[in-house]
């Protein structure tokens, strides 16, 4: 057994940079083994991933598009986690958030475009928050664990949306489970249009100005959690509920606030997908981003500064991974789900596997240097 290290002596960059990097490297090594067993060359696969995600402009734009989604769901998970709430319901909250975007946008589309956008963002936040509110209320007042309720609410959201998309808001002129398209004027400007201004032609890219919204949301979360009294109170409740009660901070109120903000952020995924990409509700559009967001947040240590690069990493894997599946017949799409799983395993569940060893190694080395 390695003796516990005095936490105050561990430099921040060891626990926040070295440890995640070691975990990531291990995950990638294990993944390389998978690829090797599947009968492909792992080094070749890495080259493909890098080419696919950075090698050409279209690919890079895709990477950033995926990053956008992961930032939203990662931030969503992180905010709740600061109040020690394990919000697994990002997927459902994003789905319902998308419903909000569509319903608002289609009903106010006659207004000036920027106002439509703002209202649509509000719709995403309010619907996502409302979907998170119910589990939050049940947790705060009845003690029903959010892990259980939010996961159940994912299923309810999914069924509800299928019902709506089949029987209520389907584009009745066709058979597919999706709505009519929103009017073209209110679609989010895309990267393709932006590039065209500079005379650069790209085929198609889902990347749109939601990326800027993701950056703004990251700032918002940082400011909220560390610079406002709400964040302060949420963290107090999360770290020590007893102490919060002693200080007159209501755990009930803060559980609900944290979950609603979390749900609202997850709802923003609907902005990227609906205003930016599909321009209508397509069944199953959250496509697992809500779940991957949990890994993104854990890997980013629940801080926007960590979440952004972690989201980018998952963006690379998504985009580069699809490149690999094109070129390597033995590697299927599911292989990359497994790779993600391994990353989640090493940077989430096994996050502290090597932490003590790494930290004590650095502390001892630094000590020795200090003595010399």
């Amino acid at each position: 057994m390695v003796a516990a290290v005095d936490k105050s002596k561990v430099p921040w960059w060891v626990s926040n940079l070295i440890v995640p990097l070691v975990n990531l490297t291990l995950a990638l090594l294990v993944s390389a083994l998978f690829i090797f067993i599947a009968g492909e060359n792992p080094i070749q696969a890495v080259k493909l991933i890098i080419y696919g995600s950075f090698g050409y402009l279209d690919g890079f734009a895709y990477t950033l598009y995926y990053t956008t989604n992961f930032v939203f769901t990662g931030l969503a998970f992180a905010v709740a986690f600061h109040c020690r709430l394990f919000n697994i319901g990002g997927e459902g909250q994003a789905y319902i958030g998308g419903l909000g975007v569509f319903l608002v946008a289609i009903n106010v589309s006659f207004l000036p475009v920027p106002i439509v956008w703002l209202l649509a963002i509000a719709g995403a936040v309010v619907f996502g928050a409302a979907w998170a509110f119910i589990p939050a209320y049940l947790q705060a007042k009845r003690g029903s664990h959010v892990v259980i309720t939010t996961i159940m609410f994912n299923f309810i959201a999914s069924s509800l949306m299928v019902f709506l998309l089949v029987d209520v808001i389907r584009d009745m002129k066709q058979m597919g489970p999706h709505t009519v398209a929103l009017p073209k004027e209110i679609w989010f400007p895309t990267f393709k249009e932006f590039a065209a201004l500079f005379g650069i032609k790209i085929r198609y890219s889902p990347l749109n100005i939601s990326f800027l919204l993701a950056i703004a949301a990251s700032f918002f979360v940082w400011f909220l959690v560390w610079k406002t009294k709400w964040g302060y109170e949420m963290r107090a409740v999360g770290h020590n509920t007893q102490a919060a009660i002693y200080a007159g901070i209501s755990p009930y109120k803060n559980i609900i606030i944290a979950m609603c903000i979390s749900g609202g952020l997850a709802g923003l995924l609907g902005i990227n997908e609906i205003l930016g990409v599909h321009h209508k509700i397509v069944a199953g559009f959250p496509a697992g981003y809500g779940f991957t967001g949990i890994a993104v947040a854990l890997m980013g240590r629940n801080h926007p500064i960590g979440i952004f690069p972690a989201a980018f990493l998952f963006g690379i894997l998504y985009q580069g991974g699809s490149e690999v599946t094109f070129d390597m017949p033995n590697i299927t799409r599911y292989m990359f789900v497994a790779v993600q799983g391994v990353i989640i395993l090493f940077s989430g569940a096994l996050e502290n596997l090597f932490r003590p060893q790494i930290e004590s190694f650095f502390v001892n080395t630094l000590n020795r240097k200090a003595k010399i």
Binding site: S8, K9, K227, Y232, N240, A243, A244, I245, A247, G248
Partner: protein, 506 residues
């Protein structure tokens, strides 16, 4: 000369940059009671954990009866005849005494004949040392004093020759302390060796024949107990002379500011913990509430500070009704009315230990100016305020950005006190203000409380340290089993008398 039963040579141990033990040399003679005294954080517990095999020393040797031993785990030390009675007992609550003692012993199951024999052996041990334990009673039915005896019996049964007792009296009534001391003396007479770790000078003077003083990880003195006195020991512990008695002027009593009528409070399990309590506190007065832990003081404090629901009865602040069954002001509203609360358990309640120090220095006042405006925290103002109060209260280290759990207990307590006292409360509720706090800080904290009193605050002091209640209070209430069983003016009371009241005897 006979070789000492336990000898430590050049023991060193560090945690990161902190050297907890520096070149410790210690010789303990067989058949004596050897005291080790020192402030919190002086390295006493670390040293004893090394002797018990919980930590490994970085360097140095340990010998028992002249033979060097290697201690890799508590099992090794038990085999070498070292037994430890921890501050927190290591007993399984819903097992009987005998089950707890044979638990995990000898690495085999004890049934039938073996159990009978074990029981007979244990009975003999109980008789020899007058432990007076019923071997078949369940631990949860036993009082704290008896649980401690079970721990001693366990070590005896495992063949211990050397007993290490870590702060054994912290949780006992004065009568239980007497009983414990009798047992320790009879152990000594049978040739056993006892190492007593404590920060209480009285115990050292009463019980030990030799004493070693530790300060900042080093042994700074060895002496025969008969060659020293409390003042000298205290000076060695702290490194400067210490005032053992407080400078306290006569109280200037004002009006009744805080009044409690027929208060009844239940705990989380629905058990009535505070039974029909009445009390009044005047401004400029310190009312001490003495009692053994668990007699309702915790629930009383929580009810008075708005954390716990009132079952029946009324609480008044300045003649204004603040809480009753239907109406409970929350802690924040009470703060606004001038009530401050230093909770009993600083880590569970008084602080968010994962927060940075400056965040804890405004905890509960964080939404007030100048710390925040329009819900946005004003970091610069908070930091400059933090630096100021850390200076004023001598919080070490003076780093407002440091995570609170990295401060020592005494400094954490100063963080809470500075926060609660700086608001100049009219009524101050204080629970165990110096629990786990070193002597230097105790002196400081006591002086601050007296200053508050002299400025006209009404103070309710809840403490299990009788010395503390006696040295600070103007008037003393004793709580037993949820009732106030006695009220005394401090001048006319002895600790004997209070001890009997605390035990529910008188």
């Amino acid at each position: 000369m006979v070789s000492p039963i336990l000898e430590l040579k050049n023991i060193n141990k560090s945690f990161g940059h902190v050297q907890a033990n520096k070149n410790i040399n210690l010789k303990i003679t067989q058949g004596t009671i050897h005291g080790i005294i020192g402030e919190n954080g002086a390295g006493k517990s670390t040293l004893m954990s090394i002797v018990y095999g919980l930590y490994q020393a970085d360097s140095g040797t340990i010998s028992v009866s002249g033979k060097e031993i290697k201690l890799k785990s508590p099992r090794d030390s038990i085999e070498s005849g070292i037994g430890m009675v921890h501050q927190h007992f290591m007993l399984v609550e819903n097992f009987t005494v005998i089950e707890n003692i044979v638990l995990g012993f000898e690495g085999e199951f004890v049934f039938g004949e073996k159990l009978k024999k074990a029981k007979q052996d244990l009975k003999n041990l109980c008789d020899t040392y007058k432990l007076n334990i019923d071997l078949d009673s369940v631990i949860s039915d036993l009082s704290v004093g008896f649980r401690q005896r079970v721990e001693i019996l366990k070590s005896l049964y495992r063949g211990a020759e050397i007993f290490i007792l870590d702060e054994p009296t912290g949780v006992l009534t004065p009568q239980e302390v007497d009983e414990l001391f009798k047992i320790l003396r009879s152990l000594k007479e049978e040739g056993k060796t006892i190492v007593l770790i404590t920060h209480k000078l009285n115990e050292i003077m009463d019980l030990t024949s030799e004493v070693s003083v530790m300060r900042q990880g080093e042994v700074v003195g060895h002496t025969k107990t008969t060659d020293t006195n409390k003042e000298k020991l205290a000076e060695m512990m702290v490194g400067r002379s210490v005032l053992l008695r407080l400078n306290k002027a006569e109280a200037k009593l004002g009006d009744v500011v805080f009044k409690v009528e027929n208060l009844t409070v239940k705990d989380d399990l629905g058990v009535t913990r505070v039974k029909n309590v009445n009390l009044e506190i005047r401004s400029g007065e310190i009312l001490g509430l003495a009692g053994v832990t668990g007699n309702g003081q915790t629930e009383l404090l929580e009810a008075l500070s708005g954390i716990r629901k009132v079952e029946s009865g009324t609480i008044y602040l300045n003649d204004e009704k603040i809480s009753d069954k239907d109406n409970l002001l929350d802690p924040r509203e009470l703060k606004e009315k001038g009530l401050a609360h230093v909770p009993e358990d600083r880590q569970r309640m008084g602080l968010v230990t994962d927060f940075k120090a400056y965040e804890n220095l405004i905890f509960g006042y964080h939404d007030q100016e100048p710390y925040s405006k329009s819900s946005i925290l004003k970091d610069n103002d908070i930091l400059s305020y933090s630096k100021k109060v850390m200076e004023e209260y001598d919080v070490r280290p003076r780093s407002p950005q440091l995570i609170t759990s990295n401060f020592s207990g005494g400094n954490q307590q100063k963080i809470i006190l500075s926060r609660e006292l700086n608001e100049n409360p009219k009524i101050l509720l204080v629970g165990q203000p110096t629990r786990g706090v070193d002597i230097g800080a105790i002196e400081f904290i006591h002086q601050r409380l007296i200053d508050m009193r002299d400025k006209g605050a009404a103070i309710l002091l809840v403490s299990v340290e009788l010395d503390e209640v006696l040295s600070l209070s103007d008037r003393i209430l004793v709580m037993f089993d949820g009732n106030i069983v006695g009220e005394r003016i401090n001048k006319d009371v002895t600790d004997r008398e209070l001890g009997l009241l605390m035990a529910g005897v008188a």
